[in-house]
């Protein structure tokens, strides 16, 4: 049973084609275990993990650490659950968009997932990381890194090649996403606080405010 002893509740959501390994990826992340069996997710599920986030990056709030409770939504990749799963998009603060490095088709579908996200997420450019999973199966690989990287760059999002089987990059990718979200939170607050507390178009707009505006143009 979780308690309320945390500073932030961050909701992430994994999406992507059926069988790309969303459930196993999250299982690896939360429990650090690997389950090679394929059990299709019924509609929706979630896992939780408590992490400590160190705000070490320069420029952000003094090097404080926060207890973050992660709620990681796992969606069914199957088409038939689509209407159900997209309903959950709007509740998530960040997205793990996954494809299978051994399936060209799953990679091609990333575009579709992106447009789904843009249509249903809380804002038009939410924080997303692109994840090519099953990196351990190098002999079956169908998507090369350059291709995927290019796509990620096009969207302006980070890209990781992960393996739920070996654990490669699993934590790193989630942490990167978390980092993006934490930054956005501050920007959003900075952005709104100025007009909120004292409206009326005062001077002293802050630099980070502008950054925030660029980022959350939603």
């Amino acid at each position: 049973m979780t308690d309320g002893d945390y500073d932030y509740l961050i909701k992430l959501l994994a999406l992507g084609d059926s069988g790309v390994g969303k459930t196993t990826f999250l299982y690896r992340y939360t429990d650090n275990k690997f389950n090679p069996k394929f059990i299709t997710t019924v509609g929706i599920d979630f896992r939780e993990k408590r992490v400590v986030y160190n705000n070490a990056s320069p420029g952000s709030t003094h090097g404080k650490s926060f207890k973050v409770h992660l709620q990681l939504w796992d969606t069914a990749g199957q088409e038939r659950f689509r209407s159900l799963t997209t309903a959950f998009f709007r509740d998530a603060m960040g997205f793990l968009l996954m494809f299978d490095l051994t399936s060209q088709q799953s990679f091609l579908n990333v575009r579709n997932w992106m447009s789904q996200l843009q249509a249903n997420a809380y804002c038009e450019n939410p924080d997303i990381v692109l994840i090519g999973n099953k990196a351990d199966l190098s002999d079956q690989r169908e998507v090369n890194e350059r291709q995927a990287k290019e796509l990620a760059d096009k969207y302006g999002i980070p890209y990781f090649e992960t393996s739920a089987a070996t654990g490669q990059n699993v934590e790193k990718s989630v942490e990167t996403l978390l980092d993006l979200i934490m930054k956005r939170m501050e920007q959003c607050v900075d952005k709104t606080q100025v007009p909120d507390a004292v409206n009326g178009g005062n001077s002293g707009k802050l630099e980070d405010t502008k950054a925030g505006e660029r980022k959350c143009a939603c």
Binding site: Y8, V42, I44, M185, E186, Q193, V198, G200
Partner: protein, 793 residues
């Protein structure tokens, strides 16, 4: 909220898939529970901070040489202080938090930002910006969509109506929209369980007479109109007398008097519609009592005699006249628990042997409620708006409810209301008798607040012992909290003389202390170890439940005397583990002081935009044609004084309001007016947004003829209400916008008490004429200041 569009077609799901998804959603609900609790805590913290930030902000930044945060004197050369980028107040070095290289905020602003991150508000705000009307969580949509499929046979047309709800519930739904069917709806109601929200009829007749007044009601509509004319006869001279009786009141009041005199005449000529107008006052006992007090204080013997002859609806008439006749000083005097003008105090003491203290202590509650009553009365209240007298009336009403608790549904209560009334109006005017007509047959007291508020009543000598055995469960299917009251053990003996205890258990789902939240078990006779095994059911969403505390009190039902308190138990539901299916035994406690935590409470927040258009700019605005403006009373005011500045108030939205209706909803509206304003000519209301605790009104109020200098002296009062059709509207919270100076036009007044954000926003508006300023304000949970307000005015 466009919930209609939000139901997904999930019919393709297989049974076990549905089950699986619901299990996931339930897990999510648990997590949300924890999160909500955490957020509430943070919001309360925020409220505290803003409060603290209040005093300070009285001082304007530039000319003061004091740090607004710590009050430290700032130096002329060293530590001169600097303006916080977020709030523009001057703060010293120690009261800053550096967020980035060289960028800082004052500690209050930093904390506010911090909390907005921690609560996830940043996210919801962003999302709200994108999906204008999708404030509902996706999980909630899915849950509803899935639940919707379950009982395929009982299809519910109302989308947001929870599927699991009783059919009873549904039965009342059509009646809500159709005023004309009010009577029909009422006819159904007695079949329903007690305590169900009586939400029938928009402008429903006889808001309070929840007792078996069907017959009464049917009679009401037509006969009242005849009586109305009599009322008028009374009211006119009385009103003028009231003018004399009145102690010093503001000029505005004279106008109000005049206006209601004028108003009452046309009303009397109307036929059946009048019944609606007057309906608020068919409060039976409530109005009678006020009528009586009117009699008492002003000596209108004539009214009394009328009462004897009239049938039950009459009291409404009486109350009108007595309201008119009552002077402001009396009304407000009683409301102020501390200072009671001699005359009224005497009056009360004379009649209520030994109990006035109680009555007085509860006044504030009454006055809160009464205001909503005014709404219900619609036009009627609009015109006369002698709120003080109306309030006074409700104060009495409350008082009666109090008594009701002491004289519960014994057979005596069921006495024909008619005889009861005539009894009252005869010589014997003891309060206790007054309570009789008000007592409903089903013992659902109208607004019996005894257990919550009346400290020092008969709790003083309460003997409390023993325990209460409960089993609390929450059904996700029906969306209901089921409180199984199993038994009590070793209760104290209530009536020692007769060695008798007839216990029953009463419950409230705090903080809702209204009748809607009240449930009772049956009365068990002569036992200190009663076995109830009764389920008290509350239909409420699980998330809302987190904000509630279940209060169970055990009472001894005395047929002839007062009910006595035998102990209570308060169960905060935010920490309750509903997984646990076992019975829980609670030790009964003596009366707890609930007031402290009721006062400071997160009631949600409201977003408003303010704009002051100064007179010189206003002149360029096209004047509205008089013909159109004449249609409404308020607008005609505008025409009278087309010059002067305008304060535009955009009521945007509110969030996290308290849900008072079943299914976790409220039908909300905002009321706003300017103080000082005794005749309420400045009163505005938004339309009602149904079934939402996160309503978006986007409605603008305009207050006219305001010179820049007026802004320093007026106060904008905004209150959020839940619209109830048959009971008083429920107060959900309010804000007060002014410059927080404590004085208005040279008079010291209690209502110029804006704090923190409230005051910033007002100040900001004053400083930026012509530009609109927007802010999100925490709703205050009390309206205590209104007492002061009306007292002073």
């Amino acid at each position: 909220m466009s919930k209609n569009a939000e139901i997904l077609n999930l019919s393709y799901l297989l049974e076990q898939e549905r089950e699986a998804i619901l299990t996931v959603l339930k897990r999510d609900e648990n997590l949300k529970k924890i999160e909500d609790k955490r957020v509430r805590k943070l919001k309360n913290e925020l409220l505290e901070i803003k409060k603290k930030g209040a005093k300070i902000s009285r001082m304007r930044q530039n000319n003061s040489k004091i740090c607004v945060r710590c009050q430290k004197k700032l130096g002329l050369i060293f530590d001169r202080g600097d303006l916080c980028q977020a709030c523009q107040f001057r703060v010293c070095k120690t009261c800053r938090v550096v967020t980035k290289e060289g960028v800082w905020k004052c500690n209050v602003c930093a904390k506010i930002a911090q909390i907005r991150i921690a609560t996830g508000d940043w996210f919801f705000e962003e999302r709200a910006r994108r999906f204008k009307n999708a404030t509902v969580l996706g999980t909630e949509v899915v849950r509803k969509s899935i639940m919707r499929k379950v009982p395929a046979s009982t299809r519910i047309e109302e989308e947001s109506e929870q599927i699991g709800n009783n059919k009873k519930e549904n039965a009342s739904v059509p009646a809500i929209s159709e005023t004309a069917q009010a009577a029909d709806g009422n006819a159904k109601r007695p079949d329903k369980r007690i305590g169900k929200l009586p939400r029938t009829g928009e402008d429903a007749i006889s808001i309070h007479s929840n007792h078996d007044t069907q017959s009464l009601r049917s009679v009401t509509s037509i006969p009242r109109s005849e009586r109305r004319s009599k009322v008028d006869i009374h009211s006119l001279p009385e009103a003028s007398q009231a003018d004399f009786l009145q102690t010093v009141r503001d000029n505005g009041d004279g106008i109000s008097q005049a206006s209601f005199k004028m108003d009452s005449r046309p009303e009397s000529k109307r036929s059946s519609p009048v019944s609606i107008i007057g309906s608020v006052h068919s409060v039976g006992a409530g109005s009678i009592s006020s009528a009586q007090s009117g009699i008492r204080t002003n000596g209108y013997k004539t009214s009394t005699t009328v009462a004897v002859h009239q049938t039950s609806p009459t009291p409404s008439k009486l109350s009108l006249s007595s309201n008119y006749s009552r002077s402001g000083s009396i009304a407000s005097g009683v409301r102020a628990s501390s200072s009671i003008p001699e005359d009224i105090a005497k009056g009360n003491r004379r009649k209520n042997s030994g109990t006035p203290s109680l009555a007085l202590s509860r006044v504030s509650v009454a006055s809160d409620r009464s205001r909503s009553e005014v709404d219900l009365s619609g036009h009627y209240a609009e015109g006369k708006e002698d709120t003080q007298s109306i309030r006074r009336m409700f104060f009495l009403q409350e008082y009666l409810d109090e008594n009701e608790e002491d004289f519960p549904a014994t057979n005596a209560r069921k006495t024909d209301t008619l005889s009861a009334y005539s009894m009252n109006s005869q010589a014997d005017r003891k309060w206790t008798h007054l309570s009789v007509p008000d007592a409903d047959a089903d013992t659902t007291s109208l607004n019996s607040m005894t257990s919550v508020y009346s400290e020092g009543w008969d709790f003083d000598n309460a003997k409390v012992s023993g325990e209460l055995v409960l089993n609390l469960t929450y059904s996700y299917k029906t969306g209901a909290l089921n409180v199984l009251v199993k038994s009590c053990r070793n209760l104290a003996t209530a009536d020692e003389k007769k060695n008798r205890t007839d216990p029953y258990v009463k419950s409230y789902l705090l903080p809702d202390k209204s009748r809607q939240s009240k449930r009772k078990t049956k009365i068990k006779t002569n036992t200190t170890n009663p076995e109830f095994n009764e389920v008290l059911k509350y239909v409420i969403s699980h998330t809302q439940l987190e904000t509630r505390t279940l209060q169970l009190s055990v009472w001894h039902n005395d047929r002839f005397g007062r009910n006595s308190f035998l102990g209570e138990v308060n169960v905060p539901l935010d920490t309750w583990n509903f997984e646990n299916q076992e019975d829980e035994t609670f030790t009964l406690q003596a009366k707890m002081d609930m007031t402290s935590d009721v006062i400071l409470q997160y009631k949600g927040e409201i977003t408003v935009g303010l704009r002051y258009i100064p007179p010189e700019k206003n002149l360029t605005l096209p004047l509205e044609p008089v013909s159109i403006a004449k249609k409404s009373f308020r607008k005609s005011k505008k025409i009278q004084m087309p010059t002067g500045g305008i304060v535009e108030v955009l009521i945007k939205e509110a969030k996290n309001l308290t849900a008072v209706k079943s299914g976790g909803n409220s039908d909300t509206f905002v009321k706003g007016y300017l103080l000082p304003d005794n005749n309420k000519s400045t009163k505005h209301k938004t339309p009602i947004i149904k079934k939402s605790v996160n309503p978006q009104w986007n409605h603008t109020f305009s207050f006219t003829s305001l010179e820049p200098s007026d802004l320093q002296n007026i106060s904008l009062d905004l209150t959020v209400w839940d619209k109830e059709s048959l009971t008083r509207n429920v107060f959900l919270g309010g804000v007060c916008l002014n410059c927080g100076s404590g004085t208005s036009y040279g008079n010291e007044v209690g209502w110029m008490d804006a704090q923190g954000e409230e005051q910033y926003l007002w100040q900001k508006m004053m400083d930026n004429p012509g530009t609109s300023v927007e802010g999100t304000l925490m709703l205050r949970s009390t309206k205590a200041r209104h007492k002061k307000a009306s007292q002073k005015s």
